[in-house]
Symmetry: C2
């Protein structure tokens, strides 16, 4: 490709309305242009990157044995009613009426459409297992579309759906897809983690997210230094605490006139924050519950909700707290409650000895508290807290916390959709059996933005080679229009093309500074400059995008760098 | 590809609701499945064909220098208001409200979106000419979706838009696209014609349609045996008629008591139908007009509307006819009108001598009529008629009429959209100049159906090779599970793959009859059968899809047929 015959339009100014670096750089490089809120045109430059990502996803899905098809973007309400998602999906579902007032939606995902296809196409267990996928435009009517293509309304997604006779096949395909996703993100040159995600009612490892790691990521991810364990902060677990040590202090009431937080109390008493316990008062259908986590920890609301009897919990009101504990917030604790209450302790709190809690009396806490002696052992002990960096992991390693951008999700759906839609096949015994189902998504357009969040510098984007619009940029400096310079450039281009290297020849005739700034901004991994001076010396000026300096290389040395 | 790992589901029954053969065969081959009215899922088999068409279109567009980008399917009302098309497009435009009640449409075409892109991206004449294209899903809310993907609501279209400083560049790019389209349809192996289309206000050759020829086509196309002239029936012109011969008969009133049509009058008088003239009475803003075409011809309403002063014409009512001609319909003519009327004659009528017209008196016609002698020469002589098969063409050849399916359209739009949307660039003198624009569409999904309409037989589809889901099917007959048969099949598959031939190995273990019926139905161009008996004889059974018989070939002969 000659750049003079392409359409490239870069800008130096950082657009005012772009909040994150990938959005800023995609606009500056001219990869996308906004058509309306959450709707972007992919320019020729941007589309080259999008297609490269798409091609890797397609190749690896095919290699994994999945079969590509293509479903309509517009889908009838009737199908979505069969699963109840016409209502449940909420306002992200873009609803449409056609000229005959029939109702449709713009597919945000396609479980219903594929299950409809499956119930027409699959009749026998002999056709299983099968995994259908598509790479198709999706629409989610985000209330606040932002961050460019990172959270656009219209986006490109790869969605796959597998069908099985039973859970064994589902688990095998889930693992197959996990391996395919690992190959995809590895091939794309991204630093990523597969993390356990909260999978709602299904439980187990039935759901994992793939995150591209980047400081600007929206999600916090805990991972262990001891294994490849990684999980969303929602579900990450630390190792069990060490066994409780024996009591050594007497219980005593202490004056804490204005000290309402654990931090203030610990400072006043001169003890470690980790020896205090924080009381969280909640109400459930079955009554008042006091949950305890250590003063240096935060409660994890999803974990709390998974404790038996707490699925419907909400924070207690001040009146409810007064009624059950007899105190105002800031001095709450499990001792001297006004009524009989249920105490649910985090595992770390249950392991404490000689600890501090509120006295249920304004201005006072109780120190030297010990379970079994000063109050009954907690009714329920569970993991209630968010892990923190430095926690011991279950595998013996240390937990670290990084930030990530979710770009993929694998999920064991089980029979939910097939059951609702009556998708069955005949099993070995000729009996109609509801299909078991998995779904596997990749945000193709989001990967482009995530890659930039992970790979950029002050000069612009730094593409991993497999995603770069071109792998090599050949820049000519030729103010006198020397034919030898143009010939050398063309010759190098032809050599690279013959070797299957996707090169671009910058023959726009710009001044070197302007040309180099463009090539850096759009993130081309390798830059070669061809000039009269270089040709006279028999060298090419070569610079890798991440290198601080250019180097002058002979032809053979240069080709060795570029063709691998 | 091994067919056992693919998803193929064929049926023998012709679906009751499929009216045309391509729809029937696509359903029977399992290429598409209906999701809702005018909405189809492309199965894995169907998608293979669609992608092959798409790839040829993309390659030739790139070769022609067009640059691919991707616009959103959902587009804001504001843009469509700028050109007035929010209203003018009519009910085919699928209108949508998002969660904030903002209005959008699903793009049926993208002149507005690309012109918006162009006005942001193009600033200088130095960036011109440029041709942007996309291959993107479109939606048109057809009132009666039918014929499967031939007239679906959601479909895949390649749409290209070129921008120029002046008309010269536009014409050059129009010709470039015309050549690219010719290459595309030639490469796809289709019998097609580029035909002149009515281009409305722009005139000239500013619009051509590309039609795949098929007896079931919706459009009639006239072409000449003397050159590559071809045109829609709307615009096709025959050669000028021969000069008028001298009068030889006297004018006379003839009794035609019940003969109201030219056919009846000619039969009664025993003359050729071509010697009668049919009178068509129309009203315009400027008054009553009588248009004349020969009795054996039909009037072309589009041509009639292009006659000066007739742009606004409508058929005259019986009262208006009585008022101006003094007669009831069936006996109308240009002689003895009650009022002064304007006569507009088709060129063929103007060339007549001794012809017959109505007498403007119930029950009578006038024979032996001659221009200049019995009535004044016609005020206007123009081409008013539809051509018929056998007409002399302007190039001296003969006109023939065939039927076609429109699959492409090239159009010189001029400044219409750019003017409305204020898309300008600075010209050589630094003056803001409105862009000139062309647009070029190809119905990618429709090509698939059109190819089947043109290429099928009683057994099923006959794909042109470049569109076939696979070029070669290798069928194994191996009831005893002989390893040598499987090995020979795999070896042939590997040989073909190494030669870049897209082969499929039918290892499903079906009975031969069932297997061959599938392979014929889905239209694979070349079939090779490998059996124990064949291997023993050292031969492969080969059959081309269009051949009536199979032949036994040695390995070298076989490869010579398959690898070219």
């Amino acid at each position: 490709m000659r750049l003079s015959r392409f359409h490239l339009r870069t800008t130096k100014e950082t657009p005012a309305d772009a909040e994150i670096v990938s959005h800023q750089l995609m606009l500056r490089a001219g990869m996308v242009r906004k058509l309306a809120s959450g709707l972007y045109t992919w320019s020729p430059l941007g589309l080259r990157v999008l297609r490269k990502v798409e091609a890797v996803v397609r190749e690896e899905m095919n290699r994994a044995g999945a079969i590509e098809l293509l479903m309509p973007t517009i889908q009838p309400r009737e199908l979505w009613e069969e699963t109840g998602r016409w209502q449940k999906f909420g306002p992200q579902l873009l609803k449409i009426r056609d000229r005959k007032e029939a109702e449709f939606c713009y597919s945000p995902t396609a479980e219903e459409a594929i299950t409809d296809f499956a119930r027409q196409e699959l009749a026998s267990y002999k056709q299983l297992p099968v995994n259908f996928y598509q790479i198709q435009t999706k629409f989610r009517d985000e209330i606040r579309p932002r961050f460019g293509v990172m959270r656009a309304r219209e986006f490109l997604m790869k969605d796959a759906y597998s069908f099985h006779l039973g859970d064994e096949g589902l688990v095998a395909e889930y693992n197959n897809m996990h391996a395919a996703y690992t190959r995809i993100f590895t091939r794309l040159g991204l630093d990523f983690r597969a993390v356990l995600a909260d999978s709602g009612a299904i439980g187990g490892d039935a759901s994992q997210e793939f995150h591209v790691l980047a400081d600007s990521g929206e999600d916090a991810i805990a991972f262990s230094t001891g294994s490849d364990y990684a999980a969303n902060l929602e579900t990450a677990q630390a190792a069990l605490p060490a066994a409780r040590i024996a009591a050594s202090e007497a219980m005593r009431k202490v004056d804490t006139p204005t000290q309402k937080t654990c931090e203030e109390v610990a400072a006043l008493l001169g003890i470690e924050l980790a020896r205090t316990a924080k009381s969280i008062a909640v109400m459930t259908g079955a009554g008042f519950v006091l949950a305890l986590v250590r003063g240096d920890h935060t409660v994890n609301e999803i974990k709390l909700g998974k404790v038996e009897g707490l699925a419907d919990y909400r924070m207690a009101t001040e009146a409810e707290i007064l009624e059950h504990l007899g105190s105002e917030p800031g001095f709450l604790g499990p001792i001297n409650a006004k009524k009989t209450i249920r105490v649910v302790a985090d595992r770390e709190v249950a392991a404490l000895a000689d600890f501090v809690v509120g006295a249920n009396e304004a201005g006072f806490h109780i120190a030297g508290v010990n379970w079994g002696r000063d109050l009954p052992e907690p009714e329920t002990v569970a993991d209630l807290r968010n892990v923190v960096a430095g926690d011991r992991a279950q595998d013996g390693g240390e937990l670290r916390i990084v930030r990530g951008i979710e770009v993929g999700h694998v999920f064991q759906l089980g029979r939910k959709y097939a059951e609702a839609m009556g998708a069955t096949v005949l099993d070995e015994n000729g009996k109609a059996t509801v299909l078991s189902m998995g779904c596997y998504g990749i945000g193709v357009s989001r990967i482009v933005a995530a890659a930039i969040e992970q790979n950029h510098d002050a000069a612009g984007i730094i593409w991993p080679e497999p995603m770069a619009p071109w792998t090599v940029a050949i820049c000519t400096i030729n103010p006198k229009g020397d034919a030898a310079v143009n010939e050398a450039a063309q010759q190098l281009f032809d050599t690279l093309q013959a070797a299957g290297i996707d090169a671009v020849l910058d023959d726009r005739g710009l001044r070197p500074g302007q040309m180099f700034a463009d090539i850096e901004l759009i993130g081309i991994p390798h830059r070669v400059v061809i000039s009269e001076r270089g040709l006279a010396a028999g060298t090419f000026e070569y610079r890798a995008r991440r290198a601080s300096e250019a180097e002058n290389l002979g032809r053979e040395e240069l080709l060795a760098k570029l063709i691998r």
